[in-house]
Symmetry: C2
């Protein structure tokens, strides 16, 4: 199918769209090879599957892969539903849900057409957290947020580990690398590695010890859907496998 | 001041950021000349002025212009507050608020450093609605939304006029032109002229008469802040000039 005027192709011929779920403030990303029409989604939200598939269809794309950056605690992934409706393969990091078609490790490269994503291990928010780097941008999940970082107080989170992930694996990318996180709560849509190195409120200029102190003093309330979301996401978001309600 | 790693520069050296106000589902846009650091904001929201100025500061920019696409009915503009705090000039279309520093007409070109915006008259949602075209993208306000169009039932709205604005002035731009509207309620962040010509639910494939029928049958409730927002915006969003209550 011919795709005309789909726009936002990067210099590498990658089509790119950012999508937002207002209820959970989650960003979902659509990437595709403009030539072959093969596409992938990163961190889809179950309630937005119809919207996402409509856009894939409008743009004349074929969904090949669905990626999660980690087992989310604040929304239910659309991965399983998207696989059921399109045949796309679902991908998570090692330690992620056993229902995924493939669990990937640091250094592995995923390809859809000419689009390449390199897996970067960024544990700390959760133990299975990974980031995906594609050309000039990196999808950081909840590891590195805009001016912030994901909480580390559940799902085997570890503040020291998150410090190492951000400082040694994300902040060593080129300063101009675009940072696309899984959430933003203030309406910011993108940042850069250079900006976060200078302005990130939780980590910029801090030692590992100081960062651990900051993260352990946050005392955040639990995400209101955590008891639903984590078991659902361990089943790739498929309702049929949700635990029976008490 | 040196700006490093600010990212998202277009091929024309334009820095670009999209910002979202979750309460009103409004998109605000920051554009700047990467070299000179001169910046402009399109459709800022009063409650987000601190956020926007922080970003301008982080990126080492100087706010020169604040643009509104029209007198909004669903949020209060940040234009007056931004002018008061930065000295930036405020711009609206002819028919817009008298407090604006400049009211622009179709064909006029605004410049901040090397960034040029051409004014396109796109009345119909309101009689003062304009769009701004910059390089490969167009900021359409509420005239052309993603898969939709702004309502035409108040503020001298006119469905026939909106049809003409979209079909003769926006849909004649190149198909690959990126469409950045003032709102989206489903979490879509961008579209293209080509997409909207094919998939816009309200206008694609419709005659002028059919479009007028569609728009007149919408029967939408009034925006819940209209009685506050319109007078406030006619005063550039400055609270001191709001009419006395009761």
């Amino acid at each position: 199918m011919k795709r005309r005027g789909t726009g936002l192709a990067t210099s590498s011929g990658m089509l790119f769209r950012q999508l937002f779920d207002r209820d959970s403030s989650t960003y979902t990303y659509l990437l595709a090879d403009e030539r072959s029409g093969e596409a992938l989604l990163i961190d889809p939200v179950l309630e937005q599957v119809d919207r996402d598939l409509q856009l894939v269809s409008d743009l004349g794309l074929r969904l090949a892969l669905v990626l999660d950056t980690h087992v989310h605690a604040d929304h239910v992934t659309g991965a399983g539903a998207l696989r059921a409706r399109t045949g796309a393969a679902t991908i998570s990091g090692v330690g992620g849900p056993g229902c995924a078609d493939r669990l990937v490790r640091a250094g592995e490269v995923l390809r859809v057409g000419g689009v390449e994503l390199e897996v970067i291990a960024t544990p700390g928010h959760t133990d299975d957290s990974i980031s995906y780097r594609a050309a000039d941008r990196v999808f950081t999940g909840d590891a590195l947020l805009i001016r912030a970082a994901g909480r580390t107080d559940f799902q085997n989170g570890d503040a020291g580990q998150l410090y190492d992930s951000i400082s040694a694996r994300l902040f060593t990318l080129p300063d101009a690398t675009l940072v696309y996180p899984a959430h933003d709560y203030r309406g910011l849509t993108v940042s850069t590695i250079g900006e976060e190195k200078r302005f990130n409120a939780r980590i910029a200029g801090k030692t590992r010890e100081e960062f651990v102190t900051v993260m352990s003093s946050l005392r955040l309330p639990a995400p209101h859907r955590i008891h639903e979301a984590v078991p659902a996401n361990r089943a790739c978001g498929m309702a049929a496998t949700l635990p029976v309600q008490g």
